[in-house]
Symmetry: C2
Subunit: 405 residues, 2 copies
């Protein structure tokens, strides 16, 4: 008997069930609103919070992540929201909708954090008509990207009336400001808001794993091997609770993203079901949209490259998402990072009013297969004036970078 905590995929290419009823029909027992309190690895049993004990041959940990909340007074005040699951989204929308008029109208939002979830939230808040502020301890948003690109994102925020407040660390949240419900105290001044949203990242949820004695990696996530097995052979871990192998840095890292979780789930399922599978790792591809900007990255940045023992060289070029004559002023910035000693691509970043994700996806495959920038400069891509120039920005950037090797 195998118990899964999370979704179950039995068939190789098709999700067989989405609702508890569908799962049951497929012969998979589902326990909702049931906590797993303890895993007894010697007996091969899980103790549930209702006292019941379930035996297992294989067990999959899909305990996910938990929101990082700063340890400051007032973090649990009404009107302060974390951002993790569907329920949080519904709570935020309900809170704003219930305060559409009158003296407690929800007018002002503060978002703490400036990662890609914070960027997406700022757009959502503006779309709901709120005055929106992003408050961040650093100088520029989305520090994973080059400052030149972060500045473009900052311009996009400004263009859409999102106020980016840099260099501020939250110290406390208090109820009842002068004009609004809440007051945010920072290390450098205070500001008011009717709603405060915490988007400062997540941490792996490893409470049960630690209690069970599973090995935890340097990243704080459950250690797994390429078959998704933990340090206990019969226990697997998948998704936001475990680490993942980065093919470019050649390190096990923590990257809690939905596409990675899905793949890991399939790999664990295959291994348990008797189809041996291996998770081949990631190259660090990710993307988001903020207002009219596409933002994407893949591979490693310079500092990660240096930590992996590489000598990174990089270049940024500015191009257009379609042929210049058709782009109507829209821009596309592309950064490539390569290893000076080998010429191999190490990473890429892109920001643009269109075109960023398509470049980063192609470059992710280049990273995946270990291509060097010589090859990338002349590889064959689908050219059409509607989608780019006769020289793709990828090729131009690779040829420029080649000179720095």
């Amino acid at each position: 008997m195998t118990y899964y905590i999370g979704d179950v995929i039995k068939d190789e290419t098709r999700l067989i069930a989405r609702t508890p009823e569908q799962f049951e029909k497929s012969g998979v027992k589902v326990r909702l609103k049931t906590g797993a309190e303890e895993i007894d690895t010697e007996k091969g049993e899980v103790r549930l919070d209702n006292g019941e004990r379930l035996p297992y041959d294989s067990l999959v940990m899909g305990t996910g992540s938990k929101v990082f909340l700063p340890d400051i007074p007032g973090i649990y005040e009404e009107g302060v929201f974390k951002l993790k699951n569907l329920r949080d989204g519904i709570n935020i929308k309900t809170y704003i909708k219930e305060r559409q008029c009158g003296s407690d109208k929800c007018r002002k939002a503060i978002i703490l954090g400036a990662g890609f979830i914070a960027m997406e939230m700022s757009e959502a808040m503006r779309n709901l008509g709120l005055e929106t502020r992003v408050v961040y301890r650093g100088e520029l948003p989305v520090k994973k990207w080059d400052p030149e690109f972060s500045r473009v994102i900052l311009e996009e925020l400004t263009k859409n009336q999102v106020d980016f407040v840099p260099n501020k660390t939250p110290v406390a949240i208090e109820r009842q400001g002068k004009e609004s419900n809440l007051r945010l105290i920072t290390n450098d001044g205070e500001m008011e808001a009717d709603i405060i949203i915490i988007a400062m990242g997540v941490r792996p949820n490893v409470t049960l794993a630690e209690q069970t004695g599973l090995k935890i990696g340097n990243t704080g996530a459950i250690m797994v091997d390429f078959s998704q097995r933990t340090s206990q052979e019969e226990i697997y871990a998948v998704g936001d609770c475990c680490g993942v192998y980065h093919r470019i840095s050649r390190k096990w890292i923590y990257m809690p993203l939905g596409d990675i979780a899905n793949k890991q789930g399939r790999v664990a399922g295959g291994n348990i079901g008797g189809y041996p599978m291996s998770f081949p790792g990631i190259v660090g591809a990710q993307s988001f949209k903020v207002f009219d900007l596409e933002v994407a990255t893949t591979g490693v940045d310079e500092s990660e490259a240096e930590k992996s023992g590489c000598h990174p060289v990089s270049t940024i070029i500015w191009s257009t998402p379609s042929a210049r004559s058709l782009s109507k002023g829209r821009k596309l910035g592309l950064k490539l990072i390569a290893n000076k000693s080998t010429g191999k691509l190490l990473g890429a970043q892109a920001v643009g009013e269109g075109g960023a994700v398509t470049k980063i996806n192609a470059l992710s495959v280049c990273l995946w297969s270990g291509m060097n920038i010589d090859e990338i400069g002349y590889m064959d891509l689908a050219y059409s004036p509607s989608f780019g120039g006769a020289w793709d920005p990828i090729q131009t950037a690779a040829q420029v970078l080649k000179k720095n090797l």
Copy 2:
């Protein structure tokens, strides 16, 4: 001394000149409106149409392609246009503009051919307000794509009031129909139009090459090697006049596309200038836009795969250009073709209201580096709901196809 016929790029990453004056300033002599009548390979001289003889050490043929015109009466009538260069575009626009009112108003257009240039032209004609017909000898447009995708393109034409007339071969064009300037006679009935545009493809222009005794390949184009040298060591050929190596079919083929020509030019220039370079071939990536559809392909189709000794298996899946909840009914079709014996990807096609080019570019890199569909099913791409689901259609299609191996 080196003479180029075509553009010159001296610097490795920068076009140094665009106008004749800029070329001259860079020390490159430019002769416009000057024909090359004969190449004397023994003396190393080119005889120009003004009688002058220019000596060369290296020579680059960039004689391009010529339009294919069907050998039928009336093909040179006024109002019948070929489609090749900027001048043709200007001529077409002028012709239509000069007939904006009165009895000879240009109301109806016929486009002969149904390749991707014909598709783009049909959009252009509709944008100019003309009743537009595409007349083609085959059953469906763009035969390079799977019939399932060609039918989607046909629907897009119909939705935009372009009348697609299949199974008709032009027999003659006559002046003065009943209501229009021109009458097209086909093997099966006739129809009238005020303008007829021939978009039936191009052929390599090899007249001078043949006179010079350069070897011509099976494709009808000048034979070159990976350094772009012709059968005469000191004569290079680049662009639409020469063949190109297809890495997937492992054959020299004819594919007159602008991005390929640009790369070949750089390679020839490098070799002549003392920086030995090799053109690595193509995978056959191409794309076009027709109205709201993106259409793209890469690699080979089933029949090309069979000719190359492969055993192709394929699958088509229908997905969406962004997460299903954000796609507002927009669709994206993706076809993958793999080799049954090796599992290697052989080709891909995509059609969609967005997303087709980004998929085909990523898959072009997969083809470039010889990836198999096992790997493609689990590789890392930049996931975000704005740009797709947690499982990219590429991965879903690869996993479905895997079952057919």
